[in-house]
Symmetry: C2
Subunit: 333 residues, 2 copies
């Protein structure tokens, strides 16, 4: 019998999650049955989308139930196996949740090679954020060489990869981030052509100054006023790729929505929502390409690793909503 | 020398246009020069888009200038010609403006056949509203047989044709209109499968009742709360076609925008703006198809003809914003 600490959803938050949102419990896992394996978790992914999974509304995934282990992607090691395809010692990624140990039947589990990339990178540039950036830009946004691409939350896990993919594909890339330090990183370390600090003044005017001819793709991770600033600066035929809306995730009332949405008509533009899971059968293609770009140094992975136990999950998650992280936020157990 | 009454833009309105918005003047037109013709106007088209042309903002057409003749589409008769392609007696359509007589060099002018359809129909189902409905649904919305299509302002010039095109193409069609009488017309005369009276209660719930499996295309002419109601009822892969936003045209502050726009992500849907002028080279194709459907009785043209002089233009235009018209609104001189 394996004992494990786990974080359960205790109650649904109405705004920013608090200590009351979570309960940390010790659970005894039952013995493995045939076809199962026991995974010891080393890294837990923290994602803005998690906030949405806490709401009791119809969405692209069912909400996490009260009393259930919080859903999360993880990297771990197989420590016991009755599964034909996984052996003790294998490093694996999967949706094991916020837990120290998990029993898995192997569904949705991938073997990962720590010689090729670190655990946090497998959760970041080579994980869901990388896939999201890849398919969002190339398939949904239909990126063309020469496009001017604007990315919000550009210092975050998805945005930082999206901007670098766009550069690798021959676009001009402008990132929006909070604070001079993140902006400096975008232009000096990640190769963005320009960076806009949304805390430093009117974003609409800043975008207009940096991209006076308008933008072809806006990759939106934030929603709110920044989405409106982008809509005011589209070029004809532009694509607004809706990846997230982190500015709204903790609002207790629905936020007002993009008042400039009729720019889509003026500019013959489109706003397109997507969910990366729809591209699951093409993850291998994207993963191989991203790994090549990483190996060639055309994409740099940025991770923000917090060391602690699963009990630190709640505080760590909230770092996403205050902008405390740069790059992929990971809890290392 | 021909004297003509004309309506000029006197000042830009901040809300609903008033008497002060317009000045009615008598102008003496100069003699024709080579390549010109004189057109006597019989029908002036009134379009919601006109309200946008009065604002001094960058859009898909330049704004009408202060002191300029108000831009309008018209049907008229050539009464004098020094143009090689048009003869006295020809009935023509063109952007002649709000005027009794206009001098034209023939650019953008089409000959129309009053034996095939009446002047108001040439401004309605066979004119820009028909083209807008046709390309908006078929090209922008990519209508498929079996789709469930929701149309707002469905008793208006564009909406009434859009709904009937969708029916002709094998879709299930739901119209939204204001009042029981318009709703009755949609289902009993125009063949809509269902009609929703937006004045009779919560539109979101009414759409859900009529289309419990969601909608594939929302053809939006109104914006505002009805757009949000549609966004809450999308089906996976839905297309929201942005044709207009009449609920906002006379607002003095930008309205809040669709707060449910993130439904686009949940439903992997897109919101697409378009301007019918981009399809100008395909107007003949659309016109021929619409004429066939009219002749076959698969599409019925509804027109609301107000008889009067050009001085009635301002009051007639405002009928669009109070919903006083059913079908294409036309001023017959």
């Amino acid at each position: 019998m394996t004992k494990t600490l786990q974080v359960l959803l205790a109650e649904r938050p109405t705004g920013l999650p608090t200590a009351d949102t979570w309960s940390v419990v010790t659970t005894e896992l039952p013995p493995l049955t045939a076809g199962q394996m026991l995974v010891k978790i080393s890294f837990i992914s923290l994602d803005p989308a998690m906030r949405g999974w806490l709401n009791d509304v119809r969405s692209y995934l069912p909400p996490v139930g009260i009393g259930e282990v919080m859903r999360a992607l993880d990297i771990g090691t197989v420590v016991e196996s009755r599964h034909p395809d996984f052996a003790v010692g294998d490093t694996v990624s999967g949706t094991f949740g916020v837990t120290e140990y998990a029993i898995s039947d192997g569904r949705g589990v991938q073997r990962v090679d720590l010689n090729a990339a670190s655990g946090p990178t497998w959760l970041g540039a080579l994980g869901m954020p990388g896939m999201t950036a890849y398919f969002g830009l190339l398939e949904v946004g239909k990126l063309q060489p020469g496009d001017t691409v604007l990315v919000s939350a550009a210092a975050g896990a998805v945005g930082s990869v999206a901007g670098q993919i766009a550069k690798a594909k021959g676009a001009t890339v402008i990132g929006i981030a909070g604070g001079a330090e993140k902006c400096r990183m975008l232009t000096e370390e990640l190769g963005f052509d320009a960076a806009i600090d949304y805390r430093a003044g009117n974003v609409l005017r800043q975008v207009r100054e940096v991209a006076p001819d308008g933008i072809d793709i806006y990759f939106d991770n934030v929603g709110g006023e920044i989405l409106d600033a982008a809509l005011a600066n589209l070029r004809r035929g532009a694509r607004v790729v809706l990846c997230g809306a982190i500015s709204a995730y903790n609002e207790q009332k629905p936020p007002p929505g993009p008042s400039r949405y009729m720019s889509l008509l003026v500019f013959r533009a489109s706003m397109i929502g997507f969910v990366v899971f729809d591209y699951a059968d093409r993850y291998p293609e994207a993963g191989a390409q991203l790994a090549r770009w990483l190996a060639e140094g055309r994409i740099k992975s940025r991770e923000h690793v917090v060391e602690g136990g699963v009990a630190q999950f709640g505080d760590t998650l909230n770092m996403l909503f205050t902008g405390a992280n740069t790059g992929k936020l990971v809890l290392a157990l």
